[in-house]
Every structure is written in structure tokens, then in C-alpha cells.
């Protein structure tokens, strides 16, 4: 009892350290389970994944696959952002459009899209276009929703005030609506990015002859958990770097919120 509360007190004083300890404990548990309790055909300990990471990178065709997936991700994300912004702004800024289309958008968002993946393959083939399209349909909804939400809670007095000072339509867009929605726009981008990643990888896993999804499938079928987990770690590291980059940009743009 006494020691429990002391541990808790310690953790709350050093949140960063506690974070580190949690991660270490997880890795430790994984190491032990993988070494002593699970068949090594199914699971590799993190130490081995780490030491054999070069085996992943040296896999023939993997770097090309990585760059193909990155290409698909980039294109899908760009399309999702462009279309998502256009839809989000036109729906969010107009009360009629919002009442009319928001329920439809929410309904579509609610459908588990994996059930229509075969249609994408059928229509767009097994190459990159179907992966990009599937990434777009996954990434676009969080972006639309974030923009609609971000545009909506704008204080009317700010608009009135801008107009009374002579602001033109594009002034209001550029200097009022855009900065106002920036924070939720960025969380939308982050969620959209996750969605795009999910869509593209799902489509690659389902059917493909290239890309990261193809290799995760390949490593799994070959009972090579070391390389599989190595690849996953690389992907996770990439996702984390990207996410942190977005958060830094976001923090810079929403400095006015904090009290620095």
C-alpha cells in the first residue's frame, strides 16, 4: 500500500521517465516471451529484430517496394487533402450544405470500407491506382470532418468585425477562417495521414506484387517474424517521425493558444 503510493508519486513527478520505463517493460516482456515461451517461427525477440535489421534492408526489391509505397502514400495524401479541403470548406461554410450533406458524409464514413476493396481492385487493377484510391477514401473523411468542425465554431463577431473593417471574401478566408481552423485542420491531417496509411497498406496486403504490403505478406508466409517485425518497426519509425514533424508545425502555428 505504502510503496504503491510512493511508486505512483514518483511516476507523476517524472512523466518522461515513466514513459521510458513503460516502453522498456513492454520490450522486456516481449523479449522474455519470445525467447522462452513462443515458437520462434511465430515471434522474434526485439533484440534479434534490431540486430538483424540489415537483413530486412538487404531483401531484394524491398527498397523499391518502400519507395513505391511512399509514392502511393504521398499521392493519396495529397489528393485526400485537396479534395477533403474543398469538400470540407464548401460544406462547413454553408449552413444549407451542411444540413444536406453532413449526414451523407457521416453515413459513408461509417461503412467499413474493406468490404468494397474488391471493387477498387476490379475497377482500377492491382497496380498503384487502386492502392492510391483506397488510401484516399480512408484519409479523406477525417480531413473533411476536422475542417467542418474547425470552420464551424468561429465566433460570428470576428466575421462581422472583419467585414466592418472592409475585409473582402478572400481576406476573410485567408486571415480569419484559415487561421481559425488551423489547429483542427492539423489534427485532421494527422488522422488523415493515418487513414491513408491504413488504406494503402490494406490494399497492398489484399492483392499486390509490389509495395510494403506485398513484403509483409511474403515474410508472414515464409515464417520469418524477424524480418516481418523489422519491417514493421521501420514503418512505425517512419510514421512516428512524420507525426512528430506535423506536431511541430502544428505547435508553431498555434502558438497563440499557449501562454508562453
Amino acid at each position: 500500500m505504502k510503496s504503491g503510493s510512493r511508486v505512483f508519486g514518483f511516476m507523476s513527478t517524472y512523466p518522461r521517465l515513466s514513459q521510458l520505463i513503460t516502453v522498456m517493460m513492454f520490450l522486456g516482456a516481449w523479449e522474455i516471451v519470445a525467447r522462452f515461451f513462443v515458437d520462434k517461427m511465430f515471434l522474434s525477440p526485439p533484440s534479434r529484430v534490431y540486430s538483424e535489421i540489415d537483413r530486412v534492408l538487404n531483401t531484394k526489391g524491398l527498397l523499391q517496394a518502400l519507395s513505391l509505397t511512399l509514392y502511393e502514400l504521398t499521392v493519396a495524401f495529397a489528393i485526400a487533402v485537396a479534395i477533403g479541403m474543398a469538400i470540407g470548406l464548401s460544406v462547413g461554410l454553408n449552413a444549407f450544405a451542411r444540413r444536406c450533406f453532413m449526414p451523407i458524409i457521416l453515413l459513408l464514413y461509417g461503412i467499413p470500407q474493406i468490404v468494397i476493396l474488391p471493387l477498387f481492385i476490379l475497377g482500377l487493377g492491382i497496380g498503384p491506382p487502386s492502392k492510391i484510391a483506397f488510401g484516399v477514401t480512408h484519409g479523406i473523411f477525417p480531413i473533411i470532418l476536422a475542417i467542418v468542425a474547425g470552420v464551424q465554431n468561429l465566433k460570428p463577431v470576428l466575421l462581422t468585425s472583419a467585414r466592418s473593417m472592409g475585409a473582402k471574401r478572400w481576406h476573410i478566408m485567408r486571415y480569419v477562417v484559415l487561421p481559425h481552423m488551423m489547429p483542427s485542420f492539423f489534427s485532421g491531417l494527422r488522422l488523415g495521414m493515418t487513414g491513408v496509411l491504413l488504406g494503402v497498406l490494406l490494399a497492398e496486403l489484399y492483392v499486390s506484387t509490389a509495395g510494403i504490403g506485398y513484403f509483409t505478406g511474403l515474410f508472414t508466409q515464409n515464417f520469418d517474424p524477424t524480418r516481418l517485425l523489422g519491417l514493421i518497426s521501420l514503418l512505425a519509425a517512419m510514421a512516428i517521425v512524420l507525426n512528430e514533424f506535423m506536431r511541430t508545425v502544428e505547435r508553431r502555428l498555434s502558438r497563440w493558444r499557449g501562454n508562453d
Binding site: 465566433k155 466592418s164 475585409a167 481576406h171 497563440w256
Partner: protein, 273 residues
């Protein structure tokens, strides 16, 4: 055709919200005609929902009246007139994502002031309201009183002959209002601008205004106009003078009956408080 001395002319302005004959139809302001002179400080005071803010918004071009016209400096009002009218709103209307000086510069950008003038005019306006040191703060880092000063600085930087203020100190505490009122009297008497402001505070109306238009309960019309013959800038000592108290009491008597009416109606369809 019009008196050169008249800054704002209101001719038979009336306004209703909603469609006539409909249950939600509300007559906010009855036929109102009035002239406001150059350099004059006019206070609009009356019970809630009496149409005083409606009148202010008509003059500011934010609302087009059901009937009648308003004109500013001889030009009919058909929408916002950024070169003639600057607005200070009740709520904090500063852009929270811009610093104070960015807010002021943005107003000038909207209005169309050449970029080269922005910095100098923004600094001058900040100095006038005593916020020079806070130019690079965000609105969220300032107190309510300082934010309203900043909003005032933004309005002043636009260099318009007319300034409209809708309960500019409404959200502030009594002490802050008093000090800001003194500063405002001093500042505005120097600039020679025409000021129309809506207020709920009797003391504020008497302390700041040259004329006070007292509104009846809804549907509102001007019941009486009180003249405050006291030169600007007014000192704090004016607030404790017999003259001040006499005017304030008169205002109280005029308003008391009207406010009673709205309170008794309050349980009805108006929904206001």
C-alpha cells in the same frame, strides 16, 4: 442639401425581425429620426431588446433597416463603410491568433491603407491607449480591459470620422470601466471623432456623452434626449458632482418605468432577460 455639421443622419429608420404576420415577428425599433453632429458623443441607453444595438448596427451597415435610411457624412449606408465608420464590439473581437499589433495592422490591411503606413499608425494607436509595451502579446495573454483598449486602438488606427461602440466595456468590472471611461473621455475629446455608443450603465452614459438618447421598452423608440453640458475631457471629480448625480437620477427615473415593463413582459414570448 444637408447641414455640414451633421455627421450621421437617421431618417425614419425602423426595423423588424422575422416576417410580418408570423408569430416570431418582432418589431425591434419604431420610426426613428435623428441627427448626430460632428465630434459629438452620443449614448444610446434603454432596456434590453429596445433596439439600441439594432440602431447602431443600422448605422454601421451591418443590418439593413426594414424601412428608412441612415447616412454617414452625406453618403447613404448600404453596407459596411470601412472608410467612414470603425466599430468596437462588446465581445472581444480581436483575432486570437494574431498579436495585438498584428490585429491592428490587419484592420488597416482590410481597410486598404498602404502597407508603408501600417507600422507607424499601429504604434501611434497603441501609444494612444497606453499599450505600447504589449504590442507583441496575444489577446489571450491580456486582461479584459486591455483587450478592449486594444480593440479601441484598432478602431482608432483606421482613422475614421465616426466610431461606433456596442457596450465596449460591458464585460468589464466596475473599477476597470471607470478608469477606461476617464481615458476614453480624454482620448476622444482630442481626436474630435463622432462617437455613438450603446451602454447599460447610467453613470457611463452621463460621464462620457454629450447627449443621451433614452429608449422605451420594445418596440423601441427614443423617449427623450438628455443633454450633458460638460466640457471634455471630463475628470473623475465630475462623477461626484451634484450635476452628475442630478442627470444620473433623471436618467434613472426615465428608465425605471421602461425597465419595469420589459421585466413584466419577460415571461412572455421575448425570451430575453
Amino acid at each position: 442639401m444637408q447641414d455640414q455639421n451633421v455627421s450621421v443622419h437617421i431618417q425614419n429608420v425602423a426595423h423588424s425581425f422575422g416576417v410580418e404576420g408570423h408569430a416570431k415577428h418582432v418589431r425591434a425599433l419604431l420610426d426613428t429620426t435623428m441627427d448626430i453632429h460632428r465630434g459629438e458623443l452620443l449614448a444610446l441607453i434603454g432596456p434590453s431588446g429596445c433596439g439600441k444595438s439594432t440602431l447602431l448596427n443600422v448605422i454601421g451597415g451591418i443590418l439593413s433597416p426594414t424601412t428608412g435610411t441612415a447616412s454617414v457624412n452625406g453618403k447613404p449606408v448600404n453596407g459596411p463603410m470601412p472608410h467612414d465608420i470603425a466599430y468596437v464590439f462588446q465581445e472581444n473581437a480581436l483575432f486570437p491568433w494574431n498579436t495585438i499589433i498584428e490585429n491592428i495592422r490587419l484592420g488597416m490591411l482590410f481597410q486598404g491603407v498602404p502597407k508603408s503606413d501600417h507600422e507607424g499608425r499601429a504604434r501611434a494607436a497603441l501609444k494612444a491607449v497606453g499599450l505600447s509595451e504589449f504590442a507583441d502579446h496575444y489577446p489571450g495573454q491580456l486582461s479584459g480591459g486591455m483587450r478592449q483598449r486594444a480593440a479601441l486602438a484598432r478602431a482608432l488606427s483606421l482613422d475614421t470620422p465616426v466610431v461606433l461602440m456596442d457596450e465596449p466595456f460591458g464585460a468589464l468590472d466596475e473599477q476597470t470601466r471607470m478608469v477606461l471611461g476617464e481615458d476614453l473621455s480624454e482620448l476622444l475629446s482630442r481626436t474630435g471623432k463622432t462617437i455613438i455608443f450603446v451602454t447599460h450603465s447610467l453613470g457611463e452614459a452621463v460621464f462620457l456623452a454629450d447627449r443621451i438618447a433614452v429608449f422605451t421598452a420594445r418596440p423601441g423608440r427614443i423617449k427623450e434626449v438628455i443633454h450633458v453640458e460638460e466640457p471634455h475631457p471630463r475628470k473623475a471629480s465630475f462623477m461626484t458632482s451634484d450635476k452628475f448625480n442630478g442627470l444620473r437620477n433623471r436618467l434613472f427615473d426615465l428608465l425605471h418605468d421602461e425597465i419595469r415593463k420589459t421585466v413584466n413582459l419577460g415571461s412572455g414570448s421575448t425570451g430575453g432577460f
